[in-house]
Symmetry: C2
Subunit: 252 residues, 2 copies
Amino acid sequence: MTMNVSVQLNSVEQRAPSACTSATGCPVVCAQCRVRLFAVCAALDDEEIGDLERIAEQQSFQAKQTLFMSGDAAAAVYSITAGTVRLQRDLSDGRRQVIGFAIPGDFIGLAMEDSFSFSADTLTDVSVCAFDRARFTDLMSKRPPLMGRLHQVASHELGFAQEHMVILGRRRAEERVAAFLIRWRERLEKVSGRSATIQLPMGRQDIADYLGLTIETVSRIFARLMRERILLDVPQGVRVLDDQRLLALLPD
Amino acid sequence: MTMNVSVQLNSVEQRAPSACTSATGCPVVCAQCRVRLFAVCAALDDEEIGDLERIAEQQSFQAKQTLFMSGDAAAAVYSITAGTVRLQRDLSDGRRQVIGFAIPGDFIGLAMEDSFSFSADTLTDVSVCAFDRARFTDLMSKRPPLMGRLHQVASHELGFAQEHMVILGRRRAEERVAAFLIRWRERLEKVSGRSATIQLPMGRQDIADYLGLTIETVSRIFARLMRERILLDVPQGVRVLDDQRLLALLPD
DNA sequence: CGGGTTATTGATGGTGTTCAAGGGGTGTGG
DNA sequence: CCACACCCCTTGAACACCATCAATAACCCG
């Protein structure tokens, strides 16, 4: 793991002479944000963006850090600008369900009461826009378009969650892995554009806990897909060799 | 099945002399609606309710009818005022995932694009407030509190969906059934108040498809819970004999 | 090179599925 | 009123998929 506190891929270029070099707490310049066009801030006018900018705080995290734990008071909500965050719920006996992986453009804190019902950990170095929750809620009520946009995002997430229920409830192991790869690739495309190789910042265990399987089952299925020349093992991910057969694994 | 087109438990008492006796298309009087206090209309002021009322249309359905099918153009959204609706996604090979059961106060059409991604069928006789989607969307943008309320509902649904992911992904069969009973009871309480007996308008197959199990497994687990005097079989549902042991089945 | 973590692969086993048969309720028609 | 069909549910037996257990391999930094 690299040890420099790199503010990689951030939405902020230090314009003010008072450069902020700490890992957290930098001011935000939305105009230059790379997720501006598809994050929660999309489709907001300059005035609204200005309001958001004023309560936003740029924060950076290294890989394998914790944004918050289940049960923590929900003091802030987050818009991811770089990296991947794993959201999970833990049962008391050690079982774990990964609720999702948040990537640039994603918003964390939609389904939140006063405290978080899941934990969030970084899989890679991560940059976020953090918003004080009280102020964000306040702004939402004053700025209907922001509310509207957030509702859009929440509705989309709900649909995504429902599709995942089908995967968890009614699909076999191989279908789950195929569905994961296809859906993950679709999401990456929105951030980085189409690519034959699928970056996988999460480990096998994370995929297993996301799909309701064991790490061994996931590993075996990856191995089979590679043996059958559907996938090719590449560093930090997989390359899709045969799109047709990958999609064919997933009846709908 | 009773054959009279009964407008049972509706939010509308016919005040106007022009009584509407058809099964669908009656005007709406929200002031007398029994779900007024917890449905999407909750926490709206009289003016907003008036707006809603104007675009609402009371509709009634008998049991085992279809509100809409997956793929249908999403012409309307619905607020349930009586009865139970089953939401499901069907795979091409016959597998089925029940996404949820909608009861009075619930809103259908949150996670919707231009077409529905799931089907909705009535399990009992059902009454709904139907809203033309275009008009509803329009009203939402004009009435921020309505938008806010809808976002509240969507957020809550998202949290509920995430919890269901844990159930589907990481819980054993008995835990799933226990979780279903506990969560279903909680929801019924908000409508009808606390009761030792849990009404179950859905069949075993529906529960199985909701929990990602087979009907046989669900049946066996119900049988076991009754043999162990945790549940008692009653018509149209179950009675909880031992709350403690039911809750103890569900580690968290 | 060495220690720890993560992934792979094989052997065995269990939970839940599948297949099969029968029970119980309800509505219908003789 | 009973016979019958139909649907849903229940129960038993065999099986399959995936989990578990175990050992080894690959990897990554130290």
